[in-house]
Amino acid sequence: MTSLLSQSINLFAVVLLVLAFAMIAQRRILTLIHLFTLQGAALAAATLIVGYLTGQHHLYFSAALTFVLKVVLIPILLHRVILRLNVRWDVETLFNIPTTMLIGIVLVIFAFNLAAPIAGLSTSIARGTLGIALACVLLSFLMMIVRAKAVPQVIGFLSMENGLFFAATAATSGMPMIVELGIAFDVLVGILILGVFMFQIREQFDSLDIRHLEKLKED
C-alpha cells in the first residue's frame, strides 16, 4: 500500500512535468488556466500523500492551502481577469513552439543530472522528485521568457511557484509550518497585487500586451 502511494508521488511528479510542458506548448490562455488548475490539483494531491506517508500532519494543512489557492482562488481570479479584459489568445512567442519544446527537453535533462547526486542524499521517501521539481521550475521560467502577454507570464510565474512547492514538500517533506504559511501569504498578496496591476496596465495601455511595457530602456 505505502509503496504504491510512494510510487504514486512519482506519478504525480511526472504529471506536473507533463503539465509544465503542455503549458509551454499551449497558446490559448483559457486552456493555460485549466492546465494550471490541474497542476495545482496534482500538487495538492502529492502534498497530501507525502503528509500521509511521512506523518507530518501540517502537510495536510498546506495541501488544503494549496488547493484553496491554486485550484480555487487563483484560477477564478484569472478567469475574471481574462473575461473582463478579454485576452483569450497569446500572440506568437519569442521562439516558435517546437524550438521551445526542444529547449525544454534539454532543460529537463540538465535538471535531472543536476539533481541526481542530491536525490541520492535525500532522506525523503520520494528521491527522484527533486529533479522533476527543478525541471518544472526551469520550464516555467522558460515559459515566462517566451510569452509575450501579461497573463501567461503570470501563469508561468505561478506554475514556477508550484514547482517550488513541490520541491518543498516532496523533496524535503515539508518546510516548517510558519514558513509555508508565510510563503502562501506572499503568494496570495502577490496575486492580488497582480490583479490590481492588470487593471492598471489595462486602463493605461488598453491591452495586456507587455510590448507596451518596453519604453524604459537605454536609448
Binding site: 543536476l114 526551469l138 521560467f141 515566462m144 537605454e218
Partner: protein, 666 residues
C-alpha cells in the same frame, strides 16, 4: 614643545581662518584686510618652524583621526621639512598679495574663497607631513578638491567649469594610481604606516609595479607627458594667486610624493627607473617649453613653462635614481640637490610671475599678450620685479634658476662614470637636451616680458592701467627677493638641502661645498668646477659702474629725447610691433611636428585682412579623444543590455542561472 606641534598649531590656525571666512561670508574688507594677512603671518611662521625641523631630528605625532587601526600618523623629517619650507615661504608672499588682490564679483563669495584657500594650504602642509597611506591620501584628495573649488571660483564661465572638470578628473585618476601604489607597498600586511612600508622588502617585480604606479599617479598631478593637458587649462582659469599657489607649491607636492615613494619607501632602486624618469622628464620639458614659446595667453604661457620646469625636475630626480641605483651616493646627492634647488627656485619665480600676471590682469583686464604692451611705464614695480622673475626663470646668472641648471649640468658631466657602458654613452647626450630647453626658456621669457611690459601699448585702454596696490607689491617684493637671494647664496642654501639628500640617499655635498669656501659654489673641487655668484655679480656691476662713471668723466653726458627713429620710417604705430604670434613664429616653424596647427591667412585682396593661427596639443587627438570615443563606444555597447524587453531580462537571469549551475557542476 616639539616643532611638529608648533607646525600643527599653524595648520590649525589656517583652518580657523577658513572657518572665520565662512563667518564673514560676504565681508570682503574683513576677509582681505584681516584674514589673509593673518594667514600670511602663519605662513611665515610655518617657514621658520620648517627650517627648525630641517635642522632638527625627525619628530612624529599621531592624531586621533582616521581609521580605527590607522590613526593619522604624522612625521616631520628632512624631506617634509624642506617642502614645508617651500609651502610656508611661498604662501607668505601669495597671501600678502592675495590680501590686496581679491575684490568683489569674483564669483564665489570671498569668505568661501578664504576657506578654500586656507584649506588648500593646510592640506598641502599635511600631505608632506603624513606618515601613513590613509592620511596621505585623505590630505592629497582634500588638496585636489579645495584647489578644484578655487579654480572654479568663477564658475559662471563654462570654459572655467570644463577646465576644473578636466583638472579634477585627471587628479582623481592619478590619486587612484597612488592608492594602488600604496596597496602594493603595504605588501598585504594590512598596515598602512610608512614605517611598515619601509620595512617591507618587495620583489623586484612588485617594486617596479609600485614605482610605475607612483610615477603615473604623481606625474598626473605634476603634469608630465602625457598627463599634462589639465595644467594649461586649469592655471589660466584660476584666480592668479591660486594659479601661483598651484604652480609653485601644489606641483611640488607631487615631486615630494615621488621622492618619498621612490627613495624613502622603496628601498633598493633599479637603474631603468632613473632612465625612465629622465626620458619622460626631458620629453616633458622640451614639450612644455616649445608650447610655452608659442602661447598668446600670458597665463597659459606660464602654465606651459611650469610643465617644462617639472620636466627638468624629473630629469634631476631620474639622474639621482640612476646614480643611487649604482650606489654612487655623492653623485646621486648632487643630482638631487640640483632638483631640490630647482624646486625652491621655481617655486619663487613662478609664483612671482603668476602674481605679476594677476596684477596686469586687474590693471588692464587683458590676458592675451596681443593686447598688452608698454606696461613698464604704467606699473614699474610689477615690471621690474617680474624682470627679476624672468631672468631667474630663463636660468641666467646670477639668479636662482642658473644655480640649479648649473648643478644639473655638473651632475651630467659625471655620468660618464656610470658602470654601464651603454648608459655612460647615452646619458651625457641628454645634457644637450637640457641645454636646449634652458635656452628656449630664455626665448620664451624674453617674449613674455618684452611683449607685456616693453614696447608701446597695443591697445588704447592700456593708457589708464593702474599700478598694483601696496599689498600686492609687498608680496611680489618678497618673492623677488627670494629669487635674488637663492641666486646669490647657493652655498648656504645647499647646507639646508644637504639634510634632505642625506635622508634620501645617505650622502650630501654640503661638506665639500663648505670646504671650498662660502663664496664659491663647487660641488667637487675648485679645479673641477666652481661658480661664484657674488663675485660674478660684483665684477659685472663694478664693470658697469666703472664704465658709466668713466664715460661720464671723459665725455659729456648729453642726451636728447626724440621720437623713435626706426630707419626713418615715417608713420609707425603700435600695431607694427611684433605680436606674440610673430615672436613665436620661428618656433612654430622649427618645431612644426610638435604642434597641430591651423592657420587662416588673408587673401591679398582681403579688404579686412585677418590672420589667425591656432595651436593644438597632439595628445588631445592621439590620446584623450580616442579614449573618450572608446568609452562612449563601450557605453553604447553596454546600453544594448538594457533594451526594455522584460523577456530578455528574464533570459539574462535564466542564462546566468544555467551558467552558474554548470560552473558548480564542473
Amino acid at each position: 614643545m616639539l616643532v611638529l606641534d608648533w607646525i600643527l598649531i599653524v595648520i590649525a590656525g589656517w583652518l580657523a581662518l577658513g572657518v572665520a571666512g565662512i563667518g564673514a561670508l560676504r565681508n570682503t574688507a574683513f576677509v582681505a584686510r584681516v584674514l589673509f594677512p593673518a594667514g600670511a603671518v602663519l605662513a611665515v611662521a610655518l617657514a621658520g618652524f620648517a627650517v627648525a625641523g630641517l635642522l632638527g631630528t625627525p619628530e612624529t605625532a599621531v592624531l586621533a583621526l582616521g581609521l580605527p587601526d590607522l590613526p593619522f600618523h604624522l612625521r616631520l623629517d628632512g624631506l617634509s621639512a624642506f617642502f614645508l619650507l617651500v609651502i610656508g615661504a611661498i604662501a607668505f608672499g601669495i597671501s600678502i598679495f592675495a590680501a590686496g588682490y581679491f575684490r568683489h564679483g569674483e564669483g564665489t563669495p570671498p569668505g568661501l574663497m578664504c576657506l578654500e584657500y586656507h584649506l588648500f594650504l593646510a592640506s598641502m602642509a599635511l600631505v608632506v607631513l603624513a606618515d601613513d597611506a590613509y592620511a596621505f591620501m585623505v590630505m592629497w584628495e582634500t588638496m585636489a578638491l579645495s584647489s578644484f573649488f578655487l579654480v572654479t571660483a568663477n564658475h559662471r564661465v563654462p570654459a572655467i567649469r570644463e577646465a576644473g572638470f578636466l583638472y579634477l578628473l585627471i587628479a582623481h585618476i592619478g590619486a587612484l594610481g597612488i592608492l594602488l601604489c600604496f596597496g602594493v607597498l603595504q605588501a598585504n600586511t594590512g598596515d598602512y604606516t610608512f614605517a611598515n612600508m619601509r620595512a617591507q622588502s618587495l620583489s623586484p617585480l612588485w617594486a617596479s609595479a609600485a614605482f610605475l604606479l607612483a610615477t603615473v599617479g604623481f606625474g598626473a598631478k605634476a603634469g608630465i607627458l602625457p598627463l599634462h593637458v589639465w595644467l594649461p587649462e586649469a592655471h589660466p582659469a584660476a584666480p592668479s594667486p591660486v594659479s601661483a599657489l598651484m604652480s609653485a607649491v601644489m606641483l611640488k607636492t607631487a615631486i615630494y610624493g615621488l621622492l618619498r615613494v621612490s627613495f624613502d619607501l622603496l628601498g633598493a632602486q633599479q637603474w631603468w627607473w632613473g632612465v625612465l624618469l629622465m626620458a619622460v622628464g626631458l620629453a616633458t620639458a622640451l614639450y612644455g617649453v616649445v608650447f610655452s614659446a608659442v602661447q598668446t595667453d600670458m597665463k597659459r604661457l606660464l602654465a606651459y613653462s611650469s610643465i617644462e620646469n617639472i620636466g627638468l625636475l624629473f630629469v634631476g630626480i631620474g639622474l639621482g635614481v640612476l646614480f643611487n641605483a649604482y650606489g654612487m651616493k655623492a653623485l646621486s646627492a648632487l643630482a638631487l640637490t640640483a632638483a631640490l634647488y630647482h624646486v625652491l627656485g621655481h617655486a619663487f619665480f613662478k609664483s612671482l610671475l603668476f602674481l605679476a600676471t594677476g596684477s596686469v590682469l586687474h590693471a588692464t583686464g587683458e590676458r592675451s599678450l596681443g593686447k598688452l604692451g608698454g606696461l613698464m611705464r604704467r606699473m614699474p614695480w610689477v615690471a621690474w620685479l617680474s624682470l627679476v622673475g624672468v631672468l631667474a626663470s630663463s636660468g641666467l646668472p646670477p639668479f636662482s634658476g642658473f644655480v640649479s641648471e648649473w648643478l644639473l649640468l655638473q651632475s651630467f658631466l659625471f655620468t660618464t662614470g656610470l658602470p654601464d657602458s651603454f648608459l655612460n654613452m647615452l646619458v651625457p647626450v641628454l645634457a644637450a637636451g637640457i641645454a636646449l630647453v634652458a635656452a628656449l626658456a630664455g626665448y620664451t621669457m624674453v617674449k613674455f616680458f618684452g611683449v607685456i611690459f616693453l614696447g608701446q601699448p597695443r591697445e588704447p585702454k592700456l593708457a589708464d592701467a593702474h599700478p598694483a596696490s601696496p599689498l600686492e607689491r609687498a608680496g611680489l617684493v618678497w618673492l623677488g627677493a627670494g629669487c635674488v637671494l637663492l641666486g646669490l647664496f647657493p652655498v648656504q642654501v645647499i647646507g639646508l638641502i644637504d639634510r634632505v639628500t642625506r635622508l634620501l640617499v645617505g650622502g650630501g655635498i654640503a661638506d665639500t661645498v663648505r670646504a671650498n669656501g662660502w663664496l664659491l659654489l663647487s660641488p667637487s673641487s675648485i679645479d673641477r668646477a666652481s661658480y661664484g655668484p657674488l663675485v660674478f655679480l660684483g665684477v659685472v656691476s663694478l664693470a658697469v659702474l666703472l664704465t658709466a662713471v668713466l664715460v661720464r668723466k671723459l665725455y659729456h653726458g648729453r642726451l636728447r629725447r626724440a621720437p623713435a627713429w626706426d630707419c626713418g620710417f615715417p608713420a609707425q604705430t603700435a600695431r607694427m610691433q611684433d605680436t606674440a604670434e610673430g615672436f613665436g613664429q620661428p618656433i612654430r616653424q622649427i618645431f612644426e611636428p610638435f604642434f597641430r596647427m591651423r592657420r587662416e591667412l588673408p587673401s591679398p585682396f582681403d579688404a579686412k585682412p585677418h590672420y589667425r593661427v591656432t595651436i593644438e596639443d597632439h595628445f588631445w587627438h592621439w590620446l584623450y579623444l580616442p579614449v573618450a570615443r572608446l568609452t562612449s563606444l563601450i557605453a553604447r555597447g553596454v546600453g544594448r543590455l538594457q533594451q526594455g524587453r522584460i523577456a530578455i531580462y528574464l533570459l539574462y537571469s535564466f542564462v546566468t542561472l544555467m551558467v552558474l549551475l554548470l560552473v558548480v557542476k564542473s
